[in-house]
Symmetry: D2
Subunit: 344 residues, 4 copies
């Protein structure tokens, strides 16, 4: 059994990690920490966990002691020091936040503020998107778990970029996220009567996931790629859909596009490429680690439209982290992640 500690367990990502890890046949949660709720049990904060996980919330050091892997779900800027400590204790480290995602410190400074205090750590960090970077993940102990939006975008665009189907100018990403993406903290725009039956973009073309998206796309393309990225807040709990628009490099029949995508993701358990005439929808991936991708050629305007649907808390956060953990510990990659989506 892999001994798992979660630092910052009372946020939504922490709670979702607990949901998944308590159902994982080869993992156990051995420590959970919280600054705000230390001394209470996690199931006092999340009563859904009563009878499943009744650990007390401790301080960070107590939580991580003796663990094989530490998941850090803490505000950005706090993971770097923690990573050093965890690796020093011989455990693996999976960071749920942004501290290790950006290769260039300048990008981090520009979008998040702050500096890289320990460049050697950053050199070890691997961007944990298994479908694209599996081999590197297996060789490290320090994972930067990808952001939710970037996961949905990178999986959707990777085949198109790698196979040269599209131009990489005028890339438009119109993304929509459920409210769990905003976390457990209270805010006016997620106050129920203000949020419910409302809808709109936020941080238009200014969201911090932009450089992370561009970094991955640029790496896939082998040259710099810029995107216009506009996230929207959906009045639902879970899920991210990214609808992506890219000018075709040359005419492409609809069925050929689907075939190329299916070939690219052949053998991938968690990526489901839909057929022509089908459309990805959040209802098909709820509570699961699947990423559904539908591919649409708009021959009228020579545009490729990609739709990518994930559960933001699973494939977009906790599920992908478990997938990474499985790789780190040489377990079958799908272990603990095979439950079918909740159909309603």
């Amino acid at each position: 059994m892999v001994k798992c500690a979660i630092v910052g367990a009372t946020g939504y990502v922490g709670a979702e990690l607990c949901r998944l890890l308590t159902a994982h046949p080869q993992a156990e949660v051995t420590g959970v920490s919280s600054v705000s709720f230390e001394g209470q049990r996690l199931c006092d904060v999340y009563p859904s966990l009563r009878g499943t996980l009744e650990l007390p919330l401790t301080d960070e050091d107590t939580a991580i002691r003796g663990s094989d892997v530490v998941f850090a779900a803490v505000p950005h800027g706090l993971s770097e020091a923690l990573a050093g400590k965890v690796l020093g204790q011989g455990a693996a480290f999976i960071d749920m936040g942004a501290d290790f995602r950006l290769e260039k410190e300048a990008d981090y400074t520009q979008w998040y503020g702050g500096r890289y205090e320990n460049p050697a750590l950053h050199a070890q960090a691997v961007y944990g998107l298994p479908e694209l970077f599996r081999d590197e993940i297996r060789r490290t102990r320090l994972i930067a778990n990808p952001g939710c939006y970037p996961t949905s975008v990178a999986l959707a665009l990777a085949p198109a970029i790698r196979r040269g189907l599209i131009q990489t100018r005028h890339l438009v990403i119109d993304a929509k996220s459920g409210t769990t993406g905003a976390g457990r903290g209270l805010a006016q725009n997620t106050h129920f009567p203000d949020c419910n039956e409302g809808f709109g973009p936020y941080k238009t073309a200014q969201h911090r996931h932009t450089p992370e998206i561009e970094q991955t796309l640029s790496r896939l393309a082998g040259s710099p790629v810029s995107v216009t990225f506009v996230p929207h807040l959906l009045p639902i709990n879970r899920g991210i859909i990214s609808t992506i628009y890219a000018p075709l490099a040359k005419p492409l029949p609809q069925d050929a596009a689907v075939a190329l995508y299916r070939e690219f993701y052949a053998g991938e358990r968690f990526v489901r490429v839909l057929g022509s005439g089908e459309t990805a929808n959040l209802r098909q991936v709820r509570c699961s680690n699947f990423c559904d991708i539908s591919v649409h050629v708009d021959a009228r305007t020579d545009t490729l439209v990609l739709v990518s649907a994930i559960d933001n808390m699973v494939k977009g956060a906790a599920g992908q982290a478990v997938q990474n953990m499985n790789l780190l510990f040489s377990l079958p990659e799908e272990t603990g992640l095979t439950a079918a989506p909740a159909p309603f």
Copy 2:
């Protein structure tokens, strides 16, 4: 591995059975039938099941062939003949509908119309509420899986009735169900714009679950019990809450009430009795087999208020059926049902 067939697999109950059984470590789904969608695959109707369960939908006879247990999710009136056939093939039968729930044919005729064609079958049928009738369940091969509302009510009232805490007159049950309880069939009151942001009772004091509720309560009380039962339609997907009002037999301190309930359900994995000051809520049981019960003494009016929360599709249907299956096949009762609720 227990070989499971589902007759009527394309309704919501069928889909939920598939979600649970595909995650069950000692069961496999070997047949699924549908009248409306025969020839398609189940995952064409429920794309969420792609990659998890891709069986073709067949006719009934093909689906049940070679199975160890058959779950029947068919309109009432159709289970009786099917049960005879299944038992004749040596398999167990779990009826998700109402055909075998009512002991008195007269009740069935009054509330559902129709007759009992095969009384011998009804004599074998056991009402499958494990927490109350576990021993009987273990001794049969024909289970009447309880209704969703009756499950929530019987679990809430059993301790109060068995321990003589309440009078059994003026019993009021105000229940609220998510929309999956109405099934997959289209109707104006579950059309999204008509249902969303609306709320109200339906079938006020006329719902067919009334005799089933009264049958169980009467059995627990040892004398006839009548109830006023009013269900409401909640504009959410999953869950049933029953708020139950009963005149106290004599004054009862709040903490004593909780203690009695906890003693009654000691050792029960799926019933969680909340503490004084806590209140059951659907958000704590979502997608799980738990029944959360909170107990509230209103000393001002000498009334016991009970709140009982279940996921209508799990403890109120498919989960309870799996629990019954586990009992029938001498598996640990919680097998396949231990996943924590989805916290959001």
Copy 3:
């Protein structure tokens, strides 16, 4: 034109008053005050009001100067002093909170804490439920606008109590409110991902509206009436439904019950008594001042079931206040309140 000032204009009740008063043909909003947002415009806090009402938010004294009527939407305990000031300036006062609703100071002290500093003011206050107390309303300048739950309950039970249809023991009120009832302030239970797709009671048998409900019912009955009152939080924006259970005094045919209710409310513009076979639902009253009541005789248990649906922000708050204002200023009672409900 009646000059209206709103003290505490940035809460939900204040915003709803502005929505209604800006559409009122014989009223104008001349002042709005806010402690938290003084100096901004109301339409900065509620951008929906851009182009309709762009008044600056001022302090209280500035807002009320020169007004004919002041609506106070302030935390309880703050209205008493304000009422004295407003009446002293010759304006009428409509209190949206609880300060003047309870006749007995002891009740106020028990449920809200605090004292009545100025008993003479309380002697002038009239409980502003026009359908029941219209004549008194016309004769005062100080209105205690009723609570949302109490409005829905009193209108539903008044005919049954006045006509002696029910016993007044074992009265059960199971009420459900949309989230606007909890106000604009942030709280975990109205945080979108915690609230959405959840449901349950709160303040079970302990809600502060209990004494207000009992006061009105006792007055209608001419003797003390106690109730078991359990409110629930609905994951929708607007509306309150109260489902009320009362033992019948003697057998009563369904159609006779409806006829009695229709006779009782004959000529009342805002109370719609539904026919036998119909059921009140929040979707029929949204954004309107209607109270829909459906009447159901459960002959099996000799119980009268009443269902009462209002928009909590209109008939349960701002609309009723405007109705009271119309009475105070001898305008036709329905002025500004005739817009049909939003059907979806």
Copy 4:
């Protein structure tokens, strides 16, 4: 008083017209027709209208007799013959559907099937978007009321196209609509449990509003414009947001973009151009005739992002029709349309 008849009154657009017209100080609804519900009253189908509009539903000829204006909310293909009849009776005709929106019969045939039987009628028809084509509207008696998506798109792009701010290639329109846009008819994708908590595109790059959008943009540009248009279904009742992406023609400062938009729409009551740093959201326009537009310059990618929010049933259908009616009858354009949006 303008006498108004509504043909096809029991659909959602018909119901919304009734909500608006019964609140209009210079209009009265004198006839309502329905094929499916003839003989019932409209308020039997929409109980929200009880006490407000209790007209019987008749056949078409009875409904339109004696009216000054007829609103036709009928399936496409049925309006042409009706328009001829209405104009022949001397009344004005406002078509809520697509029959008169497309200037080129070939476009109609391609996207809707069917032919133009009476070209002379089409020559009279004016596309009823008052902010852009007010003068023409005043001179006709036959209005093609615009589609919901096209209204939101044309208002957002008109200033950018007219002022030459953007290139008209690579235009991407990512639109999201509430479920009322799909109408009252039952369908699986608007069945509550299937729709709720789900989200995704539909008719990707194949929606029938595409040629209508392109027709207006081409007219504004003076040359052919093509767009990639992808609508999505939002699990809410009301509203359309279009997020529109256009390559800038040349660099444009954020504040200059806002200033140009404000200048373009100066004096327009129903278009609200938001300031820099503000973002349009459906919650601000609910139940109102406003179109909120926010303008965002993405200087990183030289892209103009426009966000346009309307209530699809008001500015996107019934409200705009009333606005057109006001123009036809020389009433102040905002008559009956000044109610503030519902803030929650």
